[in-house]
Amino acid sequence: MAELFDQHLHNVTVHFEQAEEYPAGQGPLKTYIIEAHDLNGDSPSHAGMRAVLGDLEQRFSFQAEATNDPTLVTLAKGDARYFVDYLNPRFWVVHTTSNIEPAQQYLDELVRRSWNLDYAWLPSQVLGHLRKGRRFLGFNVDFNQGLFVSEGASDEIHEQAAVFKTRYRGNLGEELFESLSSAAFSRDLCLSAVKYSISDSASGAYIKNELNASGRIMATGNSISLHLGAVNHLVNLYAQMIQTLENELSLAFVHGDGGDELQGYPLTLHFSQPVLDFPGFVKEVLSCRDQTRLWGVVSHEERDFVRAEVVDLHSASRLRLDFTPMHVVVYLFKGSCGNSVARLLRIIQEHLDPTVYFELEQPTVFDQCKEA
């Protein structure tokens, strides 16, 4: 696989902005992070992967083929072909050189219609962290409060809903981003992609990566090793993030020596200012729609307070959410998936408040990413 992609990198030169315009097989190398569960909802084992892949073949008409590497398979559909590396069976690394439109379309179909698969959800702060120490070549900012404003809200609320979208490519990435970060409107600055390069000046090897908030890395350059190194760093970091959320937050009363002790704690996501349209916000979060993918029923409702019993449609696991105009409290039930919390935070950042971030009770990987 590495040889194939190395050849691909040497044979094609692409600009990410025109990725959809290249002939089949001539676009950038794309690598995705997919978070997976086995068919009973647990973390998958290598042995359990056969059943998961069989299920995908059956439901989506993908063709799965084994390779010489026991933790690498190919999945093919139409013109799209993917290499699925499940060395870590919970966090797959999926590579493809197929054109971006069909590659993304088939993968979206696979992920969004499979309760046991999900993309990665990288907070804005983590994207900012991942470009540090690398040559910063550009960024995308996407913030739109419209999603959480209901159609029935007043014109005044619709007008107040902030939108801030911009794309920058060039060699002033660092300066421009720092300048935006210190501007008055910096609280609307939600990174949705970062572009950077990594190089080895001694050998002339380099790779340019564009990493987006759902864990997709597009690559061009001349070194597959540098690309795979960046992917490996990302997947390890993401696995650490999700496992931290699960270890810290999963709620359970555990029978101890002296009685039952509560493990885990509810997580509060604090907003920097009140939600514009509180009913619209609650309704959209529980709408079952992409991207939130949460199903819920309200069990208690007062003015400015709603409690809901919730199901994450990815992972089919239970949560409870308490909403107020100033915060959301997430109760992650034992055995539930940390990706549910990562997805909710990412969507809140994109559509409500990019400054919201994980504040856990003890220092974790999230603090390292924020402070670095």
């Binding site: 002296g258 039952d260 199903w295 239970r318 308490d322 409290v329």
Partner: protein, 286 residues
């Protein structure tokens, strides 16, 4: 927290049932909490607790509830009452000189207003008082007890049934559903668990034969099995994306209407087909 709703016999035949039992391993002491809004102090109950403290030991509590003290020989037990602040002036007269039963007032500040806790540090903390967190910041971890209504139970349990539908799990027992729904299931007394299981079985049977009929089938306990099961028959997750989303949204509406119906004690009446919903599908002409 060491237990919820444990019924404790006070020989020969009276019973107390503290709402919550908490245990401090450090001080080898358990607190048996009665939590009340203050509308009514049950004088009989208060008298039973006073007798209880004369007769019941930590070892008795360990045997009856399964709570394990670090050293049962030297362990203490204590009863504490918690009331809303507005009820305090009215109820304090009942406590009179009974210093063994501390009374905690719950208002903007939480503090003890009568009696003493054995644990010196705890006593000092409650005497000084602390700011009560706003209700929306109090974690909602213990959600069901023997008084939980059928409708409330449906609101908690049916989302767990939805996880089965999404996962296409073939079958699950009512016991599994309860333990996945209530985080504190293992802390709840056997008696309350039994009452909740019975209520859950009734609620789930009803909803599976009504609102959830297309999705889940209720199966009676088989021979040698005590527990009824639910079998998923739903085809919802096989549908295309937008139909799936609509179906899931409809399920949420059905959960709400089932909860309301159960609390009102109404039988299920299926929605009328669209054509029959209005006798005037078009505005009358002329």
């Amino acid at each position: 927290m060491a237990g919820i709703d444990h019924r404790i016999l006070l020989p020969p035949a009276s019973v107390v049932k503290p709402d919550v039992i908490t245990l401090s391993r450090k001080s080898n002491c358990a607190l048996l909490w009665e939590c009340k809004s203050g509308g009514n102090l049950e004088v009989d109950q208060f008298d039973r607790y006073r007798q209880f403290l004369d007769f019941v030991t930590a070892k008795d509590i360990q045997r009856v509830t399964g709570i394990q003290f670090p050293d049962p020989e030297t362990a203490h037990i204590q009863v504490a009452y918690c009331f809303l602040q507005e009820a305090i002036p009215r109820i304090l007269e009942f406590f009179g000189s009974e210093r063994r039963i501390p009374v905690v007032s719950l208002g903007q500040t939480t503090r003890s207003v009568a009696g003493d806790f054995h644990d010196v540090a705890l006593n000092q903390a409650f005497r000084t008082g602390f700011t009560t967190p706003p209700i929306e910041q109090v974690p909602w971890l213990v959600v069901a007890d023997a008084q939980t209504t059928d409708g409330e139970l449906a609101l908690y349990l049916l989302p767990t049934v939805v996880t089965l539908i999404v996962k296409q799990t073939e079958r699950a027992s009512i016991n599994d559903l309860l333990s996945q729904t209530f985080l504190d299931w293992q802390c709840i007394s056997l008696e309350t668990r039994g009452a909740l299981r019975e209520k859950a079985t009734r609620v789930l049977k009803d909803v599976c034969e009504a609102e959830f009929k297309e999705h889940v089938r209720y199966c009676k306990p088989e021979e040698r099995h005590h527990d009824a099961t639910l079998q998923v028959v739903s085809e919802l997750m096989g549908q295309e994306a937008s139909a799936q989303t609509r179906g899931l949204q409809k399920l949420a509406e059905q959960v709400k209407s089932a909860a309301k119906r159960l609390d009102e004690g109404r039988p299920y009446s299926p929605p009328l087909p669209a054509a029959e919903q209005s006798s005037f599908p078009f505005p009358p002409s002329g």
